[in-house]
């Protein structure tokens, strides 16, 4: 069962509008970012870019953006 894009837009427009407003208000509260953790700010900026690009799987890609990398050789590093 999957809804049509038109149904998704109609049913979730207001909720999504509210979420975008929350992010906008967060940046207003942040104000001048001078001297703040650039790594965190950069992650947030890249997350917003994913929302705007034309590729699919946005939720999974945002998750991976905020994730530590997996090293296939982890066992050797731990000596396990």
């Amino acid at each position: 069962m999957s809804r049509s894009p038109s149904e998704v837009l109609t049913q979730e427009f207001l909720q999504t509008r509210a979420k975008i407003l929350e992010i906008a208000a967060f940046y207003d509260r942040l104000g001048d970012a001078y001297g703040l953790d650039r790594t965190q700010l950069e992650l947030l900026r890249k997350g917003c870019e994913i929302l705007n690009d034309d590729r699919s799987d946005k939720a999974a890609r945002v998750q991976l953006l905020f994730s530590r990398e997996y090293d296939e050789n982890w066992r050797q590093q731990f000596g396990i």
Binding site: Q63, D71, G79
Partner: protein, 278 residues
């Protein structure tokens, strides 16, 4: 609709919550052993905790017509203490014949350390030795992807592991495919702050289908919602899913997975209601 919550920490909840769960349609639940919010100091603390899970909680649940099952282990956070972990693992077999024990869990990783990995492997050995099912905790937030991949690596490298008897919990958009593609069961944890919302869980059900997929509330001592599964049921209904399709995820799948445990004796809700009336 009746449903089963396959991962909820009822020791953290009041008796009122049992009543609310029953009124919302919960007929059975399983409670994995977990971190109590503080590090326990001795194996005796765990012995008492396992008695609570195998003796006290089933009785408390039964008063509301809910069947209570459980899983035993030392959780990933306390597994950093290897010496204590080994004492607890050695003590667990004392409880494996208790009628509501489904297996070993929730074992897993927290910060993806060497000690956590060592104890995860020793829990695996315990489960294999006693032919027990396994329920797995995956880390939160930035540690989830790496930790889930490490856990799958350990499981998949051991040919003695029966993948259909392992549930990997707290999957999200970036880990669910790895878990399902490897042949394991996957659990989506509905949680207000981290983990997954009912809406995102519904998205994953639509994307991956209902095969080997479950949802749970975690319902622990943190900011969680023990009635999160009814929220998911409502979201799926709102999207037009059939009652049969919803029932498969929230009721039939947990029963099918639990049925692989030799101690799983499920009583149909109707029979339990007779007992309540009696």
């Amino acid at each position: 609709m009746v449903y089963v919550d396959p991962h909820i920490h009822m020791v953290s909840r009041t008796t009122d919550d049992y009543e609310t769960l029953a009124k919302m349609g919960c007929v059975a639940l399983s409670e994995p052993a977990f971190w109590a919010g503080f590090d326990r100091g001795s194996v005796e603390s765990f012995r008492d905790y396992f008695r609570q899970l195998t003796e006290f909680e089933p009785k408390r649940a039964a008063q509301y017509g809910i069947q209570h099952f459980t899983w035993l282990c030392i959780n990933a956070k306390e597994a950093e203490n290897v010496a204590l972990s080994r004492e607890v693992i050695a003590m667990i077999p004392e409880f494996l014949d208790k009628p509501n024990v489904l297996g070993i869990g929730e074992i897993g990783l927290n910060k993806n350390t060497k000690n956590e990995s060592t104890i995860f492997l020793e829990h695996m050995e315990l489960a294999i030795k006693h032919q027990e099912q396994i329920l797995i905790h995956t880390p939160h937030l930035e540690d989830k992807y790496k930790g889930t991949r490490m856990i799958l690596d350990m499981l998949c490298h051991d040919s003695r592991i029966e993948r259909s008897r392992v549930l990997v919990d707290h999957v999200e958009e970036h880990t669910i495919k790895h878990v399902l593609d490897a042949g394991f069961w996957a659990g989506m944890t509905l949680y207000p702050i981290s983990k997954c919302t009912p809406q995102r869980a519904a998205d994953m059900i639509e994307k991956y289908g209902p095969e080997r997929l479950m949802a749970n509330s975690a319902g622990d001592w943190g900011p969680s919602k023990p009635t999160a599964i009814p929220d998911l049921i409502f979201e799926l209904r709102r999207r037009g899913h059939t009652e049969a399709a919803i029932r498969r995820v929230v009721y039939e799948n947990p029963i099918q997975f639990f049925s692989q445990s030799r101690r799983f004796k499920y009583t149909q809700p109707e029979a339990r209601h007779e007992l309540l009336r009696g």
